[in-house]
Amino acid sequence: MELSSKRSVPGQIAGKKRRGLNRAWRRSLIRGVLLLCIVGVAILAPFLTPHDPNKVAIGARLQGPGYRTDDGKLFLLGTDGVGRDVLSRVLVGSRLSLLIAVSAVLIAALLGSTVGLVSGFAGGAMDSVIMRLGDIWLAFPEILLALSVTAVLGPSVLNLIVALGLSRWVSYARLVRGNVLTLREREFVTAAHSIGVSPLQIMLRHILPNVVDVIVILSALHLGQMIILESALSFLGLGIQPPTPSWGGMIGDGRIYLHNAWWVATFPGLAIAGTVLLAGLFGDALRDALDPRFRAD
């Protein structure tokens, strides 16, 4: 494969390594495609739902999975406390969960990487101040930080994205900074310096391309955690507001009916667990493929 040969080593080991890398790439490809399928479902959700996800039918409330109405309509995953179709809501709920998680990861990655790049490259007092700021940030559990920010700004989708993005930038900043510190001393950087390339150019042209892999890997690994964090906020009531379906919000609703209608809280949770697991597996595989130093084996 093209990408793996870029990193292969000449000599006898090369063949073995390339095979290992090929396997890693194949694995990330398969998992990536599966993840894309979930994204596809999210995008196409309005066309896939068997029922209107917001249609209330008190007469059909809390009907178990496989419930059929008199006119033959099937509710595969049952209905919730006000008779809405659980399957349709799980499908539509994926949209905002994924949109928010992906956007929040992008914000965290962009902000954190920029900070880390500048901090590592500039060094000195600026670096110390930024890193101390990171320490302070890490003293707040993410959920508390995100909860406080959404509580103050109000629970809109945009605020949720900002709150979640802000809760995670430090990991990117630390990772990128660490990499920059080593790269800064490398010959190609000192050479660029000596021929008078501007610091900004060095950062963007010479250093950034070398840290992109680690940023991508971390983003993939964070995606699932972001989905969980968003669902926790919605579960607690400060995320996506009803009646818009969201996985966390549905679990929050289902909690009330836990004793007589298990399906209301169970299925959205399975949707979260499945998506997050896949995102985690994808992140792992991508890490193995992109950065063989971190290979699990």
Binding site: R132, L133, D135, I136, W137, L138, A139, F140, P141, E142, I143, L144, L145, L147, S148, V149, A151, V152, L153, G154, G224, I228, S231, A232, F235, L236, G237, L238, G248, I251, G254, R255, L258, H259, W262, A265, T266, G269, I272, A273, G274, V276, L277, G280, L281, D284, A296, D297
Partner: protein, 318 residues
């Protein structure tokens, strides 16, 4: 060790101690400032949020005045710092009692879950991680990896609800919620331990594998040292130090988790109190709760840092 060297070492340890303490104080100040920024400087009016949309302008003005929101930001900040230094966060808007006392009253309940959860996570994660590393790439390793990744993929509030569903509703083994008996502790502790033990066991595995690759392990094996001895005396012990640090970093996971888990199990801890206060816009309690949680995390990390530098000479000297 010579006299000079001992003196030097003592000096270094003292210097490290002072440096870390100063850094912790800076972090605590930063934490206080951040709480201020989030609750007072970000757009959004705490008074308006506290009173809701139907508030009259007069009531709003009165509350803004009571909360000191009508003063300039630097003055508000100075007053805030002074109040925090005295532990005075004002009275809860809902309950009328001093916010800090409300939070302090709930600290024991939170610890009653957090500490056993930590212990449970360690007791389960260590063997899992060690087995996964020793039998790397075997069926066991894969099984453990799938299980831990699976556990990490489930939101903890959902795990809690599923435990209630199975253990309390279906099997009737345990009470669903509340605090009082040990049976009521089981589900929240397990729920809280879940994400932690996944992270920890993956970390233990990685740490073991890294040490297994070291030259000293090869040397020990070449000398004919038995596997068990190599694993325990050399690899396991060397791997423990970074694991302790990770545990310190997980204080945040535990206390953050307590916000959700205590809500699910109606456990009267400070996590739930803080979450409720956020939902009810009870700002004095939010400030006190968030600060207390952050403070505990900073102190835990400081302690871990100090224990760590006492254990590992490489860190002590550099």
């Amino acid at each position: 060790m010579g006299e000079t060297a001992r003196k030097e070492r003592g000096g270094t340890v003292g210097a490290v101690l002072i440096k870390r303490l100063l850094a912790a104080i800076v972090v605590i100040w930063g934490v206080v400032t951040m709480v201020f920024v989030i609750l007072r400087v970000l757009p959004g009016d705490p008074a308006a949020l506290a009173l809701g949309v139907e508030a009259t302008p007069e009531a709003l003005a009165l509350l803004r005045h009571q909360m000191g929101l009508d003063r300039p930001i630097p003055v508000q900040y100075a007053v805030f710092l002074w109040d925090v230094a005295r532990g005075n966060f004002g009275a809860s808007l809902d309950l009328g009692e001093p916010a800090m006392r409300l939070i302090l009253d709930r600290v024991p309940a939170t610890m009653q879950l957090a500490l056993p959860a930590l212990l449970l996570a360690v007791v389960v994660a260590l063997p899992l991680g060690v087995v996964a590393a020793i039998r790397a790439n075997s069926l066991w390793d894969r099984l453990i990896s799938v299980l831990t990744l699976g556990a990490q993929s489930m939101p903890n509030f959902w795990i809690g609800l599923m435990l209630i569903l199975i253990l309390a509703r279906d099997w009737g083994w345990l009470p669903t919620s509340g605090r009082g008996t040990w049976q009521q502790m089981v589900m929240p502790v397990v729920t809280l331990a879940f994400p932690l033990l996944s992270v920890l066991s993956r970390f233990v595995r990685a740490g073991m594998l890294e040490n297994l690759r070291m030259d000293y392990v090869r040397t020990a094996r070449a000398k004919g040292v038995k596997d068990v001895v190599v694993y325990y005396r050399h690899v396991f012990k060397n791997m423990l130090i970074p694991v302790v640090t990770t545990l310190g970093l997980q204080a945040g996971t535990l206390l953050g988790g307590s916000v959700v888990v205590e809500t699910v199990f109606a456990w009267p801890g400070m996590g739930r109190l803080t979450a409720d206060a956020i939902l009810r816009r009870d700002y004095p309690v939010v400030q006190a709760g968030v600060l207390m949680i952050a403070l505990i995390i900073v102190l835990v990390n400081l302690t871990v840092d100090l224990v760590y530098s006492a254990l590992d000479p490489r860190i002590r000297f550099h």
